[in-house]
Symmetry: C2
Subunit: 419 residues, 2 copies
């Protein structure tokens, strides 16, 4: 595929050149583009709806189910939301240029660390056209050039959105290749990009496990990966029963298909007698299938037996694994052995237990008396997010604007040399 | 190599278990170990010198040159330095546990970010026994378990140091596998470790380019890589001549074999007439070979012609490439095209030029009127460093204690659920 390798090389080189230029564009000019792009999207509403209709028509042929088609759909209201989201990103503080910290050395050097963009982001995502505009806005706001690779089922919608973004970049005098959309649906293109660490600084894959595993396997540059979320609700001995039931139901049922939904319940034996009757009724009322150990099944005759594999499974569905533990240490060890370091919550009124749990549990977010569903960029106060990292390296948990930046040391002297 | 795969798996699993335990050990207990280890090394001086003698005896057989043998040597004074270095690390602030930032959400959730260890570090390094103690001290201070893989030429010295570290870990009640030394010199062991992302969180390779390239190629976990340093000294139109000469000579000649030594000189045409005569004399006096463009060679008849490849070369020797540029933009573009994003310095008295250079040059450290040699953990105020990252991801520039940590979100609520 010589054409494909030439095409991807050109796109990557254009992105690198644009990133150098964009790194020097002021925050005000980046924000101006965001507002112009929002206006452009609003103006293009009828075109966007038309192009989206082509994708919707083809969607059943791709085997998309009703939920996926729903995520693919762009309505007038959806486009207005898209445009407003760009304006909200414009209103966020500029992540660039500020001094992170500084220190004066004994020899008179003034050492500062300054935030800078990562450079070029290669972003691979599912068939949701709104993500095209969201991701482009976060990348450009943080001074990064982005290569967008959306799901093939959304290609016409993505191209239509992309055209507005590119036109407004040109109108605003920003580097037009700051945002590029991969215009081929050939899966080989991804492989080419993953082998260009000289032009691409980070790859962010969003989507199924097989995509992420492929990217981890092939990428020659750093990857911010969004892997699985086997999230736990631990009901401690001292838990308030009603609070525990509410948090369990919210964590499990609010949106069962997302990564920060709870998949596993651990109950302290001393709370079981109080908690399990109320929780069982609430789960049954919501139609949740439970797979539990022996003590769970004694309390909940409707529960099926859990296998060891159940405790490692991210169901992404109305299914919950459950287990009674005899101590908080047993709960912490269970989470370390079976969890995925994503999000866990303890429901407790015991200060020592809360300190122990938050210290010992090694997850991107550890909650006390709150739903696992709060592990989200918007909910944690990051403003917006491009994904949730399950890594401990560079970014952990939600990736907002700051997580799309790096830093450099800027050192001012007056002739210092090293002795 | 079934034995090797079993051995490396056991080491990695022990490291993971130790890292979980170590993450909960208080700063005071980590510091106590550092001081006990220092005392242990002092007490073991004669053993260390004896074991080191075995390595020194074998060194010529490994083809080590005089400089390498010098780095391999452990004298009584060297062991005292080693011990003091551990005590200095003990005196540094604890990187763990503190709250990095926090915000209160409108729904009453208190969101904090807390520093946590990375987990398990796999550290590969050259044949310098002092690095064994240094790296172990930085990793344990930052709550990480470490697997040390030193150069084979230092194995007896490393083992002797390691025994002291392990014994004092046990005496202090810290997990004894927090520090492990790979006891085989089989190169296959490295390959096994690089394929265990489930047990090892980050690999830090220090050494030659071929080692780093191998690690980048094989590692399944993040790598903090210390790649090449093609560092530039740019003498701007307004530079003070004496300052520029001093900084050039210090950057090039202070320690030519290290990564933050200058390899390339760029001179603004307007400064050439003033600067080149003095600089040429100073370089000749130091025996520096210069490879320059036409204008350089007109001013310096002793200079050889530079090829394009020269401008990309990290000589690590008393050789300097040089070029006259007509503007600061030409210098910035040259650095972007030929540099390695490590360290660059501008010598100038022009405020606008200094602002432009520090904004546009994308290197881990950008100096103004200071030697490139200051890009070093100790010199920049990080206390100590385990390496210098040439990446923009996670850590950039010197990696000290903070760069050996990650963070987690700890969120306190009183029953909040997501609406």
């Amino acid at each position: 595929m010589n054409d494909l390798s030439e095409y991807t090389l050109r796109v990557a080189q254009q992105a690198r050149a644009a990133s150098r230029e964009l790194a020097l564009v002021s925050g005000e000019r980046r924000n101006h583009w965001l507002r112009q792009a929002a206006a452009g999207l609003r103006k293009a509403t009828s075109t966007l709806v038309q192009e989206n209709a082509r994708d919707l028509e083809a969607a059943p042929g791709y085997g998309l189910n009703a939920a996926a088609i729903d995520r693919l759909r762009l309505t007038e209201g959806g486009i207005e939301k898209l445009a407003s989201a760009l304006e909200e990103v414009a209103a966020l503080p500029d992540p660039l240029g500020g001094i992170i910290d500084s220190n004066a050395r004994p020899n008179g050097l003034l050492v500062t660390r300054v935030r800078v963009p990562l450079g070029v982001v290669f972003f691979i995502y599912e068939s949701r056209p709104n993500v095209t505009a969201d991701a482009a806005s976060l990348c450009v706001k943080s001074g990064n050039a982005v290569i967008l690779r959306g799901g093939k089922e959304a290609l016409h919608s993505n191209l239509a959105i992309y055209r507005v973004l590119a036109e407004t970049l040109a109108e605003c005098g920003l580097p037009v290749h700051a945002v590029q959309l991969v215009e081929t649906t050939d899966r080989g293109a991804v492989g080419h990009f993953l082998k260009m660490p000289q032009y691409i600084d980070v790859t962010i894959p969003r989507g199924g496990k097989s995509l992420i595993e492929r990217v981890m396997d092939e990428a020659k540059m750093p990857v911010i990966k969004h892997y699985d979320g086997v999230c736990h609700v631990y009901v401690d001995a001292s838990a308030d029963v009603q609070m525990a039931v509410d948090i369990l139901i919210n964590s499990k049922c609010h949106r069962p298909g997302v990564c920060n939904a709870a998949e596993s319940l651990l109950v302290h034996a001393d709370a079981a007698f109080r908690f399990l009757p109320a929780a069982g009724a609430a789960l049954q009322a919501r139609g949740v299938e439970v797979r539990g150990d022996e003590r769970i099944r004694q309390a909940w005759p409707f529960a099926k037996p859990a296998t060891d594999a159940d405790y490692r499974t991210e169901y992404l569905d109305l299914i919950l694994s459950a287990r009674v533990v005899d101590s908080i240490d047993e709960a912490i060890n269970h989470i370390a052995d079976y969890g995925s370091h994503h999000t866990e919550t303890i429901i407790t009124n015991d200060l020592a237990a809360s300190r122990k749990f938050t210290a010992a549990v090694d997850s991107s977010a550890v909650m006390v008396n709150a739903s696992t569903r709060f592990n989200d960029g918007g909910e944690l106060g990051l403003g917006a997010e491009i994904g949730i990292s399950t890594d401990k390296f560079h970014a952990r948990g939600p990736c907002g604007l700051i997580e799309l930046t790096s830093y450099k040391y800027v050192v001012h002297g007056d002739g210092q040399i090293r002795m």
